[in-house]
């Protein structure tokens, strides 16, 4: 039973990454209608930016949490301005192919310079060590990841669903022409939204840097699972992707305990089941 609690908690930690990443994807899909396959590469860039900030500029983890999402977010906005914006109104497939191509190029460039085994990034001193919870030894850093990502997820949800800015955004997705008639700069808002989604990915990258290796393929390995999370949660649903992210982390954690061999397929089995029973995803609405 003790082991079970431990696995639940560990699952929650992985779930935080799924939640943060799928949240970004959901925001981008919901507002821009783009299936952002570059998300994994941008997550990886977040981790690399944190690494560069630390090793080249001596800038600590804490600043990286703020700076990396901004830097990568700006990179994302440039992508949106120069390439993605021309795809508005076209089939989803075009956006998917374009972002997939971008992901391959970005990963290729990083791999060319940094190889595939990755670079070490130490846990910040303030979060080193761990505490004994009785049923398990919880590294403080992992606890921090769960709490921090939960806060960020809820803040994003609040921003989009409960504020005036969020209302503009949602309105702009429904009917851009009408919103523009009210004097709101819709293209700029869309660019900023893409930047926000990308920033969330980069933030997840910074959070994961001390746990996993900072390596070019860290996003490629994760992105497929995250897409499954988004599909299960319902494309474009903010709360759905947060809850599914955490829930799937836990389910995956339990699988690692009961039948480890299946741990990297269980998410996809669930995805198939959900698609068979409820094709719009658990919280999705029919388009």
């Amino acid at each position: 039973m003790q082991a079970l609690y431990a696995q639940l908690l560990v699952g929650l930690i992985n779930g935080s990454f799924y939640a943060l990443l799928s949240l970004g994807l959901a925001v981008i899909f919901g507002m821009l209608n783009i299936i952002n396959f570059a998300h994994g590469a941008l997550y990886m860039m977040g981790a690399f930016v944190a690494y560069f900030l630390l090793n080249l500029g001596g800038i600590s983890y804490w600043w990286a949490l703020l700076l990396a999402p901004i830097i990568v977010g700006v990179f994302g906005m440039i992508l949106e301005r120069t390439m993605l914006q021309w795809l508005t109104g076209l089939d989803h497939l075009y956006g998917l192919l374009l972002t997939f191509g971008i992901a391959l190029i970005v990963q290729g460039v990083f791999q060319n310079y940094f190889g595939s085994s990755g670079l070490p990034y130490a846990i910040p001193d303030q979060l080193k060590g761990g505490m004994n919870l009785g049923f398990m030894f919880l590294p403080i850093y992992r606890g921090w990841v769960v709490v921090f990502s939960l806060v960020i997820c809820l803040a994003t949800w609040f921003l989009i669903e409960k504020t005036r800015l969020g209302a503009y955004l949602r309105a702009a997705t429904e009917n851009p022409t009408l919103v523009r008639a009210f004097g709101i700069n819709v293209p700029r808002m869309i660019t900023l939204t893409y930047g926000l989604g990308v920033g969330l990915a980069a933030l997840a990258g910074v959070l994961s840097a001390p746990i996993n290796q900072v390596r070019p393929l860290m996003g490629a390995d994760l992105i497929i699972v995250v897409f499954a999370v988004v599909v299960i949660g319902g494309m474009g649903s903010i709360m759905g992707s947060i809850i599914t992210g955490f829930a799937l982390g836990v389910i995956e954690g339990l699988t690692k305990y009961f039948y480890p061999e299946a741990s990297n397929t269980v998410v996809f089995v669930l995805m198939v089941l959900v698609l068979l029973v409820k094709p719009t995803g658990l919280t999705g609405r029919a388009a």
Binding site: V10, Y113, S116, P120, F137, R142, N212, P260, S263
Partner: protein
């Protein structure tokens, strides 16, 4: 009429000679395929570095000046046996490749082994670990150069059991390599009076090991044996530090650890780990000289790993055998027989021998990862702790199940 027929006879003979002359020239044409994981978790320990090592071996052999034409192609098997065998078949059937080198990932390596035997090519494996390549699944076309799971078990594994680590929990990569390493190490543990109390098989390329590490922690085993490699090993070691496993009194046995892995983990976390390799760049003047040349040509200036060094040494020995044969490099079995009949000697692995089952025998070295304060350069990672002679490190022929030995 008669003179005409004599003339045509002479002409015919002359043509025949010319034709044979051309055939002789073609006989010195060799194509080597470096098949590796070019972009995944094993790309840094093999990958482009292995292709470079093969190229350097060809250049250093000096055979080009003696009329040989040696080409190198490279391929990415993506750690998938089906892709690996498809590339191998295409290489033999379409591109007329004679020899395949490297091939890390035991699953791919064993699959490719069968293709090469069927096509009568030459197989110089450096990257794969499974001892089956020269044991149950041995082939007259195969030379297994650098290391294998039997060697890892009988060096690192044995040393740890003898030092009191008598209860083990395995974290095993769930494919041919992990299974072979766990099997060979378990044999050593039980033979030395220890026992295996449990284990987990994890999928290849797992980013998060915390679930598995918690299970290992709960098992109370003295040693947590890592029967995995590359990115999987680095993630395990890093995360084990995070979960306080070593501080809690359990010891990690990195059964297979490469130079690039230590770089990725960082000395701070990796210090004190014991493991075995058959090559390290900083062993002597020859290895340092080669490594310097190698690093200058590598993108990130990395010195060679033991896998890349094995590709170099293996190709050098292969080319020596070809030179000794004088030509006709296309009969794989014949070339490998020649390779086995000649003692091996090179700057990187020293003196050795290829056994009849295809296993190359050379010394193995027990290393310990240095403390950050002991390291004097960007790749100065290892302290030599002990040397195991080749005949004690690798499978004795009397224990080998290789069918080639029954002749």
């Amino acid at each position: 009429m008669k003179t005409k027929s004599i003339a045509s006879f002479l002409l015919g003979t002359a043509l025949t000679f010319t034709a044979t002359g051309v055939a002789f020239a073609q006989d010195k044409t060799v194509k080597i395929g470096a098949l590796s994981d070019q972009s995944g978790l094993y790309a840094d320990l093999g990958g482009p570095g292995s292709t470079l090592a093969a190229q350097m071996a060809v250049e250093d052999s000096g055979l080009a000046a003696k009329g040989w034409k040696i080409d190198i192609v490279s391929g990415d098997h993506q750690n998938k046996p089906d892709i690996g065998t498809a590339i191998a078949r295409q290489w033999f059937d379409v591109d007329k490749v004679d020899t395949i080198v490297d091939v890390p990932n035991s699953g791919v390596a064993l699959a490719v082994n069968n293709v090469i035997k069927e096509k009568n090519g030459v197989y110089i494996n450096s990257g794969a670990a499974t001892s089956d390549l020269t044991n149950a699944q041995c082939s007259p076309n195969t030379v297994h150069w650098t290391y294998d799971t039997y060697m890892l078990a009988h060096t690192t594994g044995q040393a740890l059991v003898k030092a009191g680590g008598d209860s083990w929990f395995f974290l095993t990569a769930d494919y041919a390599f992990g299974a072979a390493l766990e099997r060979d190490t378990t044999a050593v543990i039980t033979a030395n009076g220890g026992k295996v109390v449990g284990g987990v098989k994890h999928p290849l390329n797992t980013p998060d090991f915390s679930s598995f590490l918690l299970q290992a922690q709960a098992s109370k085993a003295k040693i947590i044996g890592l029967a995995n490699a590359g990115g999987d090993t680095t993630n395990t070691i890093k995360q084990a530090a995070e979960f306080g496993i070593v501080k809690g009194g359990q010891k990690l046995a990195a059964l297979l650890l490469f130079l690039t892995d230590v770089k990725a983990i960082g000395l701070e976390t990796a210090q004190g780990l014991n493991f075995t390799e058959t090559f390290y760049w900083d062993m002597n003047d020859q290895t340092r000289a080669f490594s310097k040349r190698f690093a200058e040509k590598m993108k990130n200036n990395a010195p060679p790993t033991m896998v890349q060094a094995g590709v170099y040494a293996g190709v050098r020995h292969y080319l020596k055998a070809l030179e000794a044969l004088g030509g006709n490099p296309h009969d794989g079995v014949k070339v490998v027989e020649k390779m086995k009949s000649m003692p091996t000697e090179d700057d990187l692995f020293g003196k050795g021998q290829i056994q009849p089952n295809g296993r190359t025998i050379h010394s193995a070295y027990l290393f310990e990862v240095k403390k950050p304060s002991e390291s004097k350069g960007p790749w100065d990672f290892y302290k030599l702790v002990g040397t195991v002679p080749g005949d004690q490190a690798f499978t004795p022929l009397s224990e080998s199940k290789c069918a080639l030995l029954k002749k």
